[in-house]
Every structure is written in structure tokens, then in C-alpha cells.
């Protein structure tokens, strides 16, 4: 507790914390609480029936699995891209580095339309895959691709700084002890960047579960097969069923919150590690 006493030397604690909480409440907390209040209006059995029937469970599954595999793909390729960007020199590197942020900036609907154009049966890549019997657009694979696009920057941008700050010494030591390059990577480097990688993975995953704009264009929206959870919310709204929509929204909200809590536990571990080192 001695530490906090020293820290309070600085001015502006009351003001900054007060403002933070005020703004947070007005923009995020109070509006979000509306979801809870609206859902509370429906009875328990109604609520349970809305969030737990075959159609909805299928949608949860699709959202969960596509977001999970997209985050997995991003973890692998995102790490690779971060690695290449940090460690190697090649022409056009800074352009490549800028491109990574693009999915943040491109409107999701545009991304969805563009990806559908490319991967549809008569698209640039879709037409090449069609003879091989691989359908991308209007299948879960298409959803996954859209989510890979959306989530890519999360992984690259979380891993990149950690990889950048990695000390050469440990790698040197490993080499001196005769470790092979791959072994050095898997035993020394990977554990070091694992928390950041997991954070990036979790963020991409959390974002993927809620994504709507890009997915509706490429998914085909078939009930039980390619219908995602956010679309179900939209469907409920079209039927003037606000309570039903908020009930599903509530499930997603709780899920997102848990995912984020896990991320932040991971992060406090990272920072603990760096401060103790």
C-alpha cells in the first residue's frame, strides 16, 4: 500500500477517473444495461426457449466454429507475417506492413461484397476451386474466410511488438548450448510470445463471433447450416420480437465479456512477467 501513497502525488486522479467512469457509463454501460432490462421483461421459460432451441444452437455452433477456425488460421499466419515483418528484410516491407491494418479500415460490407465476388462460383478464385469440388462462398468456409480477413490485424499487431522486443541473448544462449533453430523457436521464442499470441487469438475470436456486415454477403444464410448468431438477432427484429432479439444479444454479450476477461487475465500475466524480469 506504500506504493499507492507515492503514486497519489500526481494530480488529476479524481478528475480523470471520474470522467472515465462518467463517459463509460453514458456511452457503454447504461445503453448496454437496456439489453438486460428488456430481456428481464420475458419470463424464464420464454427466455430459455429463445436462447436454447435447435435453430439457435446451430447458429451458436456455426458462429463459434467459424470464428474459432478463423482465429486459428490467423494465429498461424498472423504470427508468420509478424515474424517476417520483424525479422527479415525484403523490398516493399513497409507497404506490406501498412496493408495489415487495412481490414480495420475497410467497411465490413465492402469486404463482404469483395470477398463474395472473388470466391463465388463465377469469381476469380471460386471458379478455379469449383472444378475441384470446393465451394467457398455460401458455405461455412466462406464465413471463415470473411472472419480471417476481419481478424488478421488483431494477431499481427499484438504479436509484433513482443517479437520486436525479444532479447537476442536468450536465443544466443540457446544456440551456444547447441539447440537447433526450430528447437530454439519452439522452446525459447514461442513460450515468450505465447501470451501475446493468445491475446491476439482471443481478440480475433471475440470479434469474429459478433461480426455481421461482411458475413451476411458471403454466408448464404441457410438455417442450420450457414446462419450466424448476429443474423438471428436481425431476424428477430424483423419479426418485431425485441425481447427475443435482446435475449440472444444477452447471451452473446455475456460470452464476449468472459472472452475479454480471459484476455485481460492473460495480459496482466504478461505485464507481471515483464516487470519481474
Amino acid at each position: 500500500m506504500k506504493g499507492s501513497a507515492i503514486r497519489r502525488v500526481l494530480p488529476g486522479f479524481g478528475l480523470s477517473l471520474g470522467y472515465t467512469i462518467f463517459y463509460l457509463s453514458v456511452i457503454v454501460l447504461i445503453p448496454l444495461s437496456g439489453v438486460f432490462i428488456k430481456t428481464a421483461g420475458m419470463g424464464w421459460s420464454d427466455f430459455w426457449h429463445t436462447i436454447w432451441n435447435t435453430r439457435v444452437i446451430a447458429a451458436y455452433k456455426i458462429s463459434f466454429l467459424t470464428a474459432l477456425s478463423a482465429a486459428g488460421i490467423n494465429a498461424v499466419f498472423g504470427l508468420l507475417i509478424a515474424w517476417v515483418l520483424v525479422r527479415y528484410k525484403f523490398p516493399g516491407k513497409s507497404i506490406v506492413d501498412s496493408l495489415v491494418d487495412l481490414p480495420f479500415a475497410l467497411p465490413t460490407a465492402v469486404a463482404g461484397i469483395a470477398l463474395t465476388t472473388i470466391y463465388a462460383q463465377n469469381g476469380l478464385i471460386g471458379s478455379k476451386l469449383e472444378p475441384l469440388g470446393i465451394k467457398v462462398a455460401f458455405t461455412p468456409l466462406g464465413i471463415t474466410i470473411a472472419l480471417v480477413f476481419i481478424g488478421l490485424p488483431f494477431v499481427v499487431r499484438t504479436v509484433q511488438p513482443i517479437l520486436q522486443d525479444l532479447e537476442k541473448d536468450t536465443e544466443e544462449a540457446a544456440v551456444m548450448l547447441g539447440a537447433h533453430r526450430w528447437r530454439t523457436f519452439s522452446r525459447i521464442i514461442l513460450p515468450e510470445i505465447a501470451p501475446a499470441l493468445l491475446t491476439g487469438f482471443a481478440l480475433a475470436f471475440a470479434r469474429g463471433i459478433g461480426e455481421y456486415g461482411s458475413v451476411v454477403f458471403i454466408s448464404g444464410n441457410m438455417p442450420l447450416r450457414t446462419e450466424i448468431t448476429p443474423l438471428l438477432i436481425m431476424t428477430k427484429l424483423e419479426q418485431f420480437d425485441y425481447a427475443g432479439a435482446t435475449a440472444i444479444a444477452l447471451v452473446m454479450l455475456v460470452f464476449s465479456f468472459i472472452a475479454l476477461l480471459i484476455i485481460n487475465v492473460l495480459q496482466s500475466r504478461i505485464s507481471k512477467r515483464t516487470t519481474s524480469a
Partner: protein, 369 residues
């Protein structure tokens, strides 16, 4: 030295952003307090010269909240009505349009989108607004012909030469035929599609509902992509090249042939279809509070005039007026049409039975198939 200059540069940015914040919130208040200030602002200046000559009628603005396939229709009609209204009263009228899925649009009006008039895909969506007290009871008898100034029907759009030989509804349930139609739960147009299929199945199976359910179930098994709206389905069929037949509004089918390739598609009329009546209504509460009732009613009424009917027909909606219908009789093939009130007991009942959660449509999609 670099440090000093960047700091200065930065302070400028911060100062500007603070000013903008202030402006921003003020802007918000302005916008909020006077509903229509910014939008009418630009039009007033242009029109003062005209209104000075005659009676000082202020320019008026209407918001027409409509569904997806009427974009072209109302773009043309709004111009015609504005000219007509000007001539009649000397008043300038600007009509703003909002388009989207019919259900979503109805919901937006319920949630406070200040529409003076709604022109939606089905009566059910206007009933929903009425239920919230924004539209007075009995809106459907306020204008002629069920308050539906134009009608349409559901037809098949197939690829040129009709390679799969699709002639009627029972061709749609054959193996290997891919049917494109939007999701009836999110699209008004798709509900007409579904009901037409249901009506056909009933008629050909001696009104046996289990058989009819099997029929639509088979049909929807042939649907590879279930878009959320009518326009999405058209894009899937036309641009992505998916499917053998598109179930579409007659006007949409004509439009896609015109806009996207007369040499690529053709229209097939089934033996039986449904009379789609997209209704219109004045949103009483909004029109009264904004003082636009008179012009709103005139706006919808003029749809029934010869000019309004002709514009509808030019945009491939079937006109009600006999003289205009005769004029365009080559364009619209006559066929046997079911009606929602006579054959399905009205929208409320059809909605409850077929499209509500756990209705027949939900039963079509059973897991494991």
C-alpha cells in the same frame, strides 16, 4: 528543435479537436431540437422566389419509408407528384426516400423514424405500426382497392432458353433444380413466394395441408442460398450465377432483365400465382404533428391518378386503373391469382400459421437433413 515544433504542431491538433468537440455537441443539439432544420435549409433558399409570387406557402418535406424494390418507381413518381402539387397549390414539396427490408422499415417507423407515409410490401407490416398507435384503425379502407394502388405477382426468372425446362411450381421440387428465393422470415417478398407455392400445392393436393407442407419442404430443400432480402436474391442469381430459377416479384424480374441483360434471362409465368398487394398508408401521428396530413394524403391519392398509374406500370407494377391497364395489357400476362384475404385468411393469420417462430416455415428446417 524538432521537439519544440512537433509539440507546437500537436497542440494545434488538440486545440482544433477541442473546438470540434464543442461544435459537435452544439451541432447535435441544433439538429435534435429542430427536426428538419438542416434538410430544409438548402431548399428554402431556392424556393423563396417562387413562393413570393403567389400565396406564401412554405416548402414542405415528406419522408416516404418504403421497401426495397420500389426505388425506381418512387424516384420517378416523386418527381411527377412534386410537379403536380406545385401546379395545384403552388407549394414546393420535396420527398425523401428510405428503402430497406419491409419488416425492418416498419420497425424503424415504430422506433421513431418520422415517416409521413409508408409504402410497404405487405399489410402485416403496416398493421404492426397501427398496433403501436401511430396509424389509425382502418387504414386499409382509407384508400381505394385495399389501399394498394398497384399490384404485382410472383413469377419465375430463368436463364435464357430455360435449360431446365421450368414451367410451373411442380418443376421447382424436382431433383437437381436449384431455386433462389429470400428468407420469408426477413423478407416481405419472400412471404409472397412461399404463399404462392403453398397455394399451388393445396390446390393440386385437394387441400391436404400435410401434402402442401411436404411440397414446400421439398422446394426449400432445393434452395442453396437464402438471402435476407429480395434484392440480395436477385444478385445471387444474376451476378453470382447461382441457381436455375429465381422466384421474384414480377416488377423485379422485368427490372433485372432490363438492367442486367435481356439476352441472359427470361420470365416464366406459372399456371397459378398470388396477387401481391403492396399497401400504402399515411402515418397519422407523424403527419398530424408535422402538419403534413394534407400533402401526405394527396401524395398517396395521386398514385391512383392516370399519371401515377402509368408511372407504376412503366416500372412494371400492375396498375389498378382500367384505362392504364388496357394500355399496358401486352406487358402483363393475365393468370390465375390467389389473394391473401380470400385464400389465406388475411396477413395476421398467414403470419401466425406460417412464418412466426415454430410456424410451418420453421418446421421445414429440421436438423439432420
Amino acid at each position: 528543435m524538432a521537439k519544440r515544433s512537433t509539440l507546437k504542431w500537436f497542440s494545434i491538433i488538440l486545440a482544433v479537436s477541442l473546438v470540434l468537440t464543442a461544435c459537435g455537441s452544439k451541432d447535435k443539439e441544433d439538429k435534435a431540437s429542430t427536426d428538419k432544420s438542416t434538410s430544409t435549409g438548402s431548399t428554402t433558399t431556392e424556393q423563396t422566389t417562387d413562393t413570393e409570387k403567389k400565396e406564401p406557402l412554405k416548402p414542405v418535406e415528406l419522408l416516404n419509408v418504403s421497401y426495397d424494390p420500389t426505388r425506381e418507381l418512387y424516384e420517378a413518381y416523386n418527381k411527377a407528384f412534386a410537379a403536380h402539387w406545385k401546379q395545384e397549390t403552388g407549394q414546393e414539396v420535396t420527398i425523401k426516400q428510405s428503402h430497406g427490408g419491409s419488416g425492418k422499415q416498419s420497425l424503424a417507423v415504430i422506433d421513431g423514424l418520422k415517416a409521413d407515409v409508408v409504402t410497404l410490401a405487405l399489410g402485416y407490416d403496416i398493421d404492426a405500426i397501427q398496433n403501436k398507435g401511430l396509424i389509425n384503425q382502418g387504414w386499409q379502407s382509407k384508400f381505394e382497392s385495399n389501399s394498394s394502388p398497384y399490384t404485382s405477382t410472383i413469377v419465375f426468372l430463368v436463364r435464357k432458353g430455360n435449360p431446365k425446362g421450368i414451367k410451373d411450381w411442380d418443376d421447382l421440387v424436382k431433383d437437381g433444380v436449384e431455386v433462389i428465393t429470400p428468407n420469408p422470415k426477413t423478407s416481405g417478398g419472400a412471404r409472397w413466394n412461399y404463399l404462392a407455392a403453398w397455394g399451388y400445392a393445396l390446390k393440386h393436393n385437394n387441400n391436404d395441408e400435410t401434402k402442401a407442407q411436404e411440397f414446400v419442404q421439398k422446394l426449400y430443400k432445393n434452395v442453396p442460398v437464402l438471402d435476407s432480402g429480395a434484392r440480395g436474391s436477385t444478385t445471387t442469381f444474376v451476378e453470382r450465377g447461382i441457381g436455375d430459377v429465381l422466384l421474384a416479384w414480377e416488377n423485379e424480374a422485368f427490372l433485372s432483365i432490363n438492367e442486367l441483360g435481356p439476352d441472359k434471362f427470361e420470365i416464366v409465368y406459372p399456371s397459378l400465382s398470388i396477387l401481391a398487394e403492396p399497401p400504402v398508408a399515411v402515418v397519422d401521428k407523424v403527419a398530424d404533428s408535422r402538419g403534413t396530413r394534407e400533402v401526405s394524403e394527396a401524395y398517396l391519392k395521386y398514385l391512383y391518378s392516370e399519371e401515377g398509374q402509368r408511372i407504376a406500370a412503366q416500372n412494371y407494377y400492375r396498375p389498378r386503373l382500367q384505362s392504364v391497364a388496357d394500355e399496358f395489357k401486352d406487358q402483363f400476362k393475365s393468370l390465375e391469382l390467389l389473394t391473401i384475404d380470400k385464400d389465406f385468411g388475411g396477413w395476421q393469420e398467414a403470419q401466425k400459421k406460417h412464418f412466426a417462430d415454430n410456424g410451418i416455415f420453421d418446421k421445414i428446417y429440421v436438423p439432420g437433413k
